[in-house]
Symmetry: C2
Subunit: 358 residues, 2 copies
């Protein structure tokens, strides 16, 4: 799977790229909506098509527990199961193992957890997660990694990094499907030297792409900014860089400028379900009484179905009435907002690159 | 507004009709999806279009309390507010006044309630409800009526009927918009003689359509069957007949055969939200473990998006995972199922009428 850089910013490490996958090419920088359980919450693939997201995420851990990777494989894989025929990425679920499983025991070879659904014990190893992701059949697959909380001690961070590094290499040896791109994951907590060391070590291996994990877990924004820039700069120029789980609008723009190519975040749908909408003026609480009489759209510059068809007054009514359509229309807009934000960034970057002196 | 009968069953009182409204013609018999709060729960007008419902319902009582009829009028009326441009009917909310309001005081002139939303006192009269429905702007409007529970005594039934009759006539005098059809409502509880008396009295007045209210409130099915047939037979042949709030599939077919033209019911979306789907074999609990591995659609004969695109296994997964898409896809199917049931009934009736000896 080939990554092609089509333009570079004359001023920053930002670049515009194309990552070619068996289900189409991903125009980067791109925001990828999250469909943890084989559905972007409340939205159908048909709703997403006009928004043109470049790639949709799902989650190996969640789908392995329910309905089971074998069941998805029998339905023809994740693309056929959820009827999304564009590029898809599955996260291994390393983060979920550590955040959701009530009991977990980690050793050098993998992790044993009690399922958050039924308490039953399950064993995940770098190789078993590859088997799961091969059954799901996404275009980009992520290895099992060790996630730590914030704050963590230096020894905790070192041990997690050591295991993540070994597991990434183990996953690379265990994988079998040549039509899937396995990305490496850079961890290293909040320690700049460990981040640099991890990025360099993985950059030495021929991965088709590199992820930056373990950020936006509660640390101050300045720390995130520093570590993203530092890590991105250490990764190979000719491979895509994916910053995991970060998706606030200003962060997307800042980190795309720092040379990050791919982003995902559950925020747009989570905010939508709780009555909030992204706008150029910031996050809008749609339940606010002031919106009741507003005839205009959420965002006059947005081309999504919500903004082209419904007034703020109607959306306010739906939120106040507790109607399920509120979550759907706001989720749709929020996803469109982030996808469009980076599409516009990309178009401008290509324009700037053309205009720059050779 | 004109009702045209295009075919009559050679065997039963059933008929196929066209009710012409300013927003298009309603092909009857028809099932009308319910959009109580200016939205069919979880569905967009755009989702409904391929299902081709002939008319969508909304509710004057609910919208008067929130967001307020004046607010809807300022947004251009209900059609523009919720972006449904086909025929629409508003129920007065008589039923909701009696089922939702924690405190209500009824007299000959109207009803005073404490709002179920904020406890504030509101007064509804036959004339004030006409003003509300005129602001909402539906094509078919219903007068305020007095609904009673099951069982009720004969004197309670008589008093409610007397008031309903007076209020219907009062509404007819108070209404102003010539582009709206005010239907009369036949009450009379479970008393056959009162039903007949009410139907005859209202049939003597020139209403463009007649509703049968107060059934399917807990009475035995045989009683519903008898009263529907009895009442429908007393109503004018050349006007549409609307049976309020009844929508089980077998009842739609039975009562369409008895000469009922219009139906509504919240069941298809309510069942969808609780994980149930209509099928030719009966109501299906989509959470049942047996569906986990089923590759086929909910209903192989159904042309809705849910059935043409998604497997039972996927829908089962969504229900089990508590995903909002489950409610949406099952609601969509259930509405399509009932709409199609009566569309097919109508097509067959027209075919039978053509084939019958003249």
């Amino acid at each position: 799977m080939r990554f092609e850089i089509v333009a570079r910013s004359p001023d920053t490490p930002a670049r515009a790229g194309l990552f070619h996958t068996p289900h189409g090419s991903i125009e980067t920088p791109a925001f990828m909506p999250v469909g943890t359980q084989a559905t972007v919450k409340g939205l159908l693939p048909g709703d997403l098509v006009p928004i043109r997201p470049q790639c949709v995420l799902s989650n190996a851990y969640h789908l392995a527990l329910r309905p089971g990777a074998t069941m998805v494989a029998r339905r023809g894989g994740l693309h056929a199961f959820m009827r999304w025929d564009g590029p898809m990425l599955t996260d291994s679920g390393g983060f979920q193992v550590f955040s959701l499983a009530p009991l977990r025991q980690i050793d050098d070879q993998g992790v044993t957890i009690a399922s958050h659904l039924d308490g039953r014990k399950r064993r995940f190893t770098p190789a078993s997660v590859m088997r799961i992701e091969e059954q799901l059949g996404a275009d980009i697959i992520m290895p099992l990694d060790v996630c730590i909380g914030y704050p963590s001690t230096r020894p905790e961070t070192e041990l997690a990094l050591e295991r993540t590094h070994a597991w990434v290499l183990h996953a690379a040896r265990a994988r079998r499907r040549p039509d899937q791109a396995l990305f490496a994951i850079v961890q290293g907590g909040m320690e700049p030297d460990l981040r640099v060391q991890a990025a360099r070590a993985l950059a030495a291996e021929p991965f088709p792409g590199y992820a930056i994990g373990g950020l936006s877990v509660g640390e101050p924004r300045a720390v995130t900014d520093e570590l993203v820039a530092l890590t991105a700069a250490e990764l190979p120029q000719d491979r895509p860089r994916y910053l995991m789980g970060v998706g606030a609008p200003d962060q997307l723009l800042a980190y795309a400028a720092a040379g990050v190519d791919l982003f995902d975040c559950v925020l747009p749908t989570r905010l939508g379900r709780t009555g909030y909408a992204y706008t150029a003026g910031g996050k809008l609480n749609v339940a606010r009484a002031a919106l009741r009489a507003e005839p205009g759209p959420l965002d006059p510059d947005c081309a999504c179905t919500t903004c082209t068809r419904y007034s703020r007054g109607y959306l306010h009514h739906l939120v106040r009435a507790g109607e399920p359509l509120a979550a759907r229309l706001l989720s749709l807009h929020n996803v469109a907002y982030l996808v469009t934000l980076l599409r516009t960034f990309r178009a401008r970057l290509i324009g700037d690159a053309r205009a720059a002196p050779a």
